[in-house]
């Protein structure tokens, strides 16, 4: 295997953070704020949680740079795909 001699990240700390952020999402989802405000906050929280899982549980933070590029490479393609479908859709 490749070198994995890094100290273990604080996995339980990440777990607690994910739990707290999930609770925060549930709280925000039912607040009497405008839908736009709630959507923006909820999406930020969801992306924050996803990035934490990717960096610490999937160990992207400790992987070679080329593998990290490989992992994020589909993201701009995904944005392009959604954009193109949006343009094609007959509103």
């Amino acid at each position: 295997m490749e070198d994995t001699k890094h100290t273990h990240p604080n996995y339980v700390g990440v777990f607690i953070a994910l739990g707290v952020l999930t609770g925060l999402e549930l709280f925000v989802a039912f607040l009497p704020w405008s839908q736009l405000t709630r959507v923006i906050i909820l999406l930020v929280l969801a992306v924050w949680k996803a990035v934490m899982v990717g960096l610490y549980y999937m160990h992207l933070r400790y992987e070679p740079k080329r593998l990290r590029w490989l992992a994020v490479a589909p993201l701009p393609l995904a944005v392009i795909m959604v954009y193109v479908v949006t343009r094609e859709y007959r509103w």
């Binding site: 549930l26 709630r38 549980y57 593998l67 995904a78 859709y89």
Partner: protein, 205 residues
């Protein structure tokens, strides 16, 4: 001509030499990451279609909690987060050569993962009993397509984890070689990551 002659003596079709490190990881892990890249595109297609349809036909969709049971799904979300930490603890255990810890955390991951699938089946049963079925317009079809495909991925993940757990009991993994644990772990964490996004978009927005 001299260059062509030199190429004749050099077999360029042979496997890469030491000067070509590739991605710097072993093949199975690289293969899993490439597969996960294709999975990102797959789920983006589903989520993108859902967002476009929801924006185009807002009256076809309901507010959070109106039809879907957010409380049950919140418990399920927490379960999946728990399963991610047990999976990564299994990986950390085998890295440290703690094989008993590996087996213990893998069993916990299997049980929690299977619980997620069971609760999702219960949620479907409740929704169908209320008349919210896949043929229930745009809302029903997009909901069951997205959560159904995710549930299928979790089910496949649980099967793979059972396989890895059996191999762990056979002593197939060591601190020096635990590729199977890491590769299946990557898949499992990806499934968790996708659910984090799906839960927000489908249940909370």
């Amino acid at each position: 001509m001299a260059h062509a002659a030199a190429l004749d003596h050099e077999d360029v079709m042979q496997p890469p030499r030491d000067c070509e490190p590739g991605a710097g990881v072993y093949n199975a892990k690289l293969g899993m990451w490439v597969f996960l890249g294709s999975e990102i595109m797959f789920f983006t297609a589903l989520i993108g279609a859902y967002i476009i349809l929801r924006v185009a036909h807002p009256s076809s969709f309901k507010a959070p909690g109106e039809v879907l049971a957010v409380s049950i799904t919140a418990v399920n979300t927490f379960l999946l987060i728990c399963s991610s930490v047990t999976m990564v603890k299994a990986f950390a255990s085998v890295q440290d050569g703690n094989l008993a810890g590996l087996r213990k955390w893998l069993i916990a991951t299997v049980i929690i993962g299977a619980s997620f699938v069971g609760i999702q089946a219960y949620e479907y049963q409740q929704l169908i009993a209320k008349g919210f079925v896949p043929s229930e317009g745009l809302y029903g079809s997009t909901f069951y397509t997205m959560t159904g495909f995710h549930g299928f991925h979790v089910t496949v993940g649980v099967i793979c984890l059972i396989f890895v757990t059996l191999r762990a009991f056979q002593g197939r993994y060591t601190a020096k070689d635990h590729r199977g644990v890491e590769v299946v772990g990557l898949y499992w964490h990806f499934v968790d990551l996708v659910w984090i996004i799906l839960f927000t978009i489908v249940y909370l927005i």
